[in-house]
Amino acid sequence: MTFSRFADKIDGLHYLAEKMELSGSRVRRYLMKTPFCTKAEVLESHFDILQKAFDILETPGTGPVVMQLKHLFTTVHDISGTLEDLKQHRVLDEIALFEIKYFASLCRDFRLLCEKLDFTSQAPDCLQPVFDLLDPDSTGTAGFYIYDSYSKSLAYARKKAAATDPDKDLALWGRATDRVLQEELLVRKELSAKLSRMYDVLQSNFDRLAYLELWFAKAELAGKYGMVRPVIVPATGTGTEVFSVDGMVNPVIADILAADGMTFQPVSLMLQQGPCLLTGANMSGKTVVLKTLALVQALTQFSFFIPARKAVIPLVKDVFLVIGDKQDHYRGLSSYAAEMLELDKIMGIVKEGADVLVLADEPARTTNPAEGAAILCALIAFLQQYNVRSLVSTHYGELDVSVRKLRVAGFEGGKATGRLDPASVSKYMNYSLIEDKDDAVPKEALLIAQLLGVDASFIQMAQNFLKKNGNERIQTGA
């Protein structure tokens, strides 16, 4: 499972990838290929590196060197084609040989800068032997041609060719220059064979430069979004690990709010093994909580810092975010059918014993409430049976399951007066999560509809229907 695959299923990963300052598609490809890491010791070593890069960026006075480094990233060429040629023992042409020499000299520059920044552990290896091979005259410059000093017969052939004049004797000149080309080919064959033997270090340096850039881009992203290093807990299989996050922020929504001069209210929560229900009024941000949790878990396991004040993250094998908006008209699936098939797939994976995080947004909401509630209960029972860490949001109340419940504190309507536009509803919403012992779910749908300015007589009609059904608990401003 790669970053690219996760980015397609978890909101916000693509967004953050776009926010990273990368020099081009070469490095972006490396990011997209990053594997979802489940090994604690690997992640810890990655976080050590990232922390180091982060500290370098925060250290006063490093600015100019970091700028040089960033500029140097933009000068790296994509030589993957040439590297593939070396791997396959093909003969390189002059341009490819130049690219290798140029790459070797760039690695030298990178090593110097890494030394200045005390970041040598991630610096590329020294490619002096490669450079020397392509600089037989010790000019020290990055320019390249098939030097005379590579071969006496080449030097001789060139001398002879220079003595001919195509305007005077074209055939003679043709033969002489043919000879030069043959000699050049011999040299290129020899150089390519020698370089093929150094393929491993060349390829590893090429990779390292991309990783080096990614570390600094991740560190910069962390600075930009106030991200922190998570404490990670390896999966022990005992089911005792606790996920907890304090002051979690969704960077995508935070940016949208910031554009309107608003701020994202950080959310804190703790999840033990097993399921937990999440309730809350409409517009109370349940979906955002689920999406942000998925994002936080994924970021952790792709070696990013996370947008929170602090967090303890137990590692999982996979993250499932079931939002229920995946209707697939092309395959003739309704949103309900798509959701059921997705849950079925997840249950299959859980049964195989994989340690996963499941985040489901109002499952079975698109069918009738009686069956919908039953399906939800069955899902909770399943998650309980297999002890799957999961958060499931719902509007269904009085469910026949005994499970931990979190509720979004919700609408603080007392402060609201008059008609609200949809954007300003958020001003009166308290997004923090509280433990809820009550079986009922918040019923603020009509209140919110009213504040949104929905037709009063329509709301009154709905009120009447509610009363008829004997439900007097509904609160409205009317």
């Binding site: 081009g24 060429h77 994509d78 042409d93 002059e94 341009i95 130049f98 690219e99 140029y102 990055a142 320019g143 390249f144 041609y145 098939i146 060139r158 060719a161 220079a162 220059t177 030069v180 080309l181």
Partner: protein
């Protein structure tokens, strides 16, 4: 030694041919040779493969350029690898073209090579700006292709030499008149600096300019189709910026307006004028004006009295009548001897 001392007053020069076989290559060869003798280092490139580089119909590459030892040249990889002389690669561009990566090399001995460089105005401008920064060169030379067929404008260089000859027309009068027309478009005045700055980055869409320096976007892409021309003309606006082609039909339509004498057309450069000479001159006679955003100083006109079909005009007569008509120095490079 005609006009080479003048060239060195500028940082860049393009050689533009009025047509194929009008002696552009000889002219460039002459300039390169003279610069070499003066111990000056030029960098040379050509307006790319999309221009004249490869004849799309016959698939014949354009003539090779003679490169002197020590000079820099920028071309694409596939042409470079066919070279039969020693040269040192100094820089390779990251982005590949269909003919391989674009690279800059230094000739370590004399040789010939097909040169195909940047193919759009922006890349060409960047080449002219970057090359002297990267390498110790005295002047950037651009093989300007048959100007009108190229998406890249040769007018991005500071100076220009125009090559013309019997291949364009074997009739002396027609040749002189044809050259004079191109000469007159090249010599159209440059737009005022503030307008150039304002319009430089607008490469798409007509703009109307107000007296107060305002710029209005009427939402017309170009002035090519009859409907577009009608829209442009009927607005009655006097200061019009046309980033693309200035067609014959547009000028004709503007001629029908009563206020032709107040009309100012702002154009990218001379190579965007695709009008009949008589329409062009009629527009100017009625008081219409053109301003070029990019204007190169035309240093000289080179004539080639021989056409590939074997027509031969008398060199002295050709030079004399051309010089009479244009009023700038005209040279027969072959006659003056390379």
């Amino acid at each position: 030694m005609p006009f080479v001392d003048q060239i060195l007053r500028y940082k860049s020069l393009s050689v533009v041919g009025l047509g194929k076989n009008t002696g552009k290559t000889e002219c460039l060869r002459y300039i390169i040779r003279r610069l070499y003798e003066l111990n000056k280092v030029p960098a040379v490139t050509s307006i790319g493969i999309d221009g004249e580089g490869v004849d799309r119909v016959t698939a014949t590459p354009k003539p090779e350029i003679l490169l002197e030892k020590g000079m820099y040249f920028t071309t694409v990889g596939s042409f470079y690898l066919q070279k039969r002389f020693t040269a040192e690669i100094c820089h390779v561009e990251e982005i590949p073209t269909i003919f391989g990566k674009m690279l800059t090399a230094r000739a370590l001995e004399r040789g010939t090579m097909v040169i195909a460089g940047p193919s759009d105005t922006f890349s060409l401008q960047r080449w002219i700006a970057d090359t002297p920064q990267r390498f110790p060169v005295d002047i950037c030379l651009v093989d300007g292709a048959v100007s009108r067929l190229s998406p890249a404008s040769p007018a991005v260089t500071q100076s220009m030499v125009l090559a013309t000859g019997a291949a364009y027309s074997a009739n002396l009068k027609t040749l002189v008149a044809g050259t004079k027309f191109v000469y007159d478009t090249i010599q159209l005045p440059a737009a005022p600096e503030e307008i150039r700055m304002q319009l430089e980055h607008t490469t798409k869409g007509i703009r109307f300019l107000g007296e107060d320096g305002s710029m209005e976007d009427p939402g017309i892409d170009s002035a090519l189709t009859p409907e577009q021309i009608k829209k442009v003309v009927e607005t009655g606006r006097e200061h019009i910026y046309i980033p693309g082609v200035v067609s014959n039909a547009l000028l004709k339509a503007l001629l029908e307006r009563k206020d032709t004498n107040k009309i100012c057309l702002y154009i990218r450069d001379f190579s965007r004028i695709f009008a009949e000479p008589q329409t062009f001159y009629a527009f100017l006679r009625k008081g219409g004006r053109f301003f070029q955003l990019l204007k190169a100083n035309l240093l000289a006109v080179c004539v080639n009295p021989v056409s590939p079909e074997g027509y031969r005009l008398r060199s002295k007569e050709l030079v004399a009548s051309m010089q009479d008509a244009l009023g700038i120095p005209v040279y027969d490079i072959k006659e003056s001897g390379i």
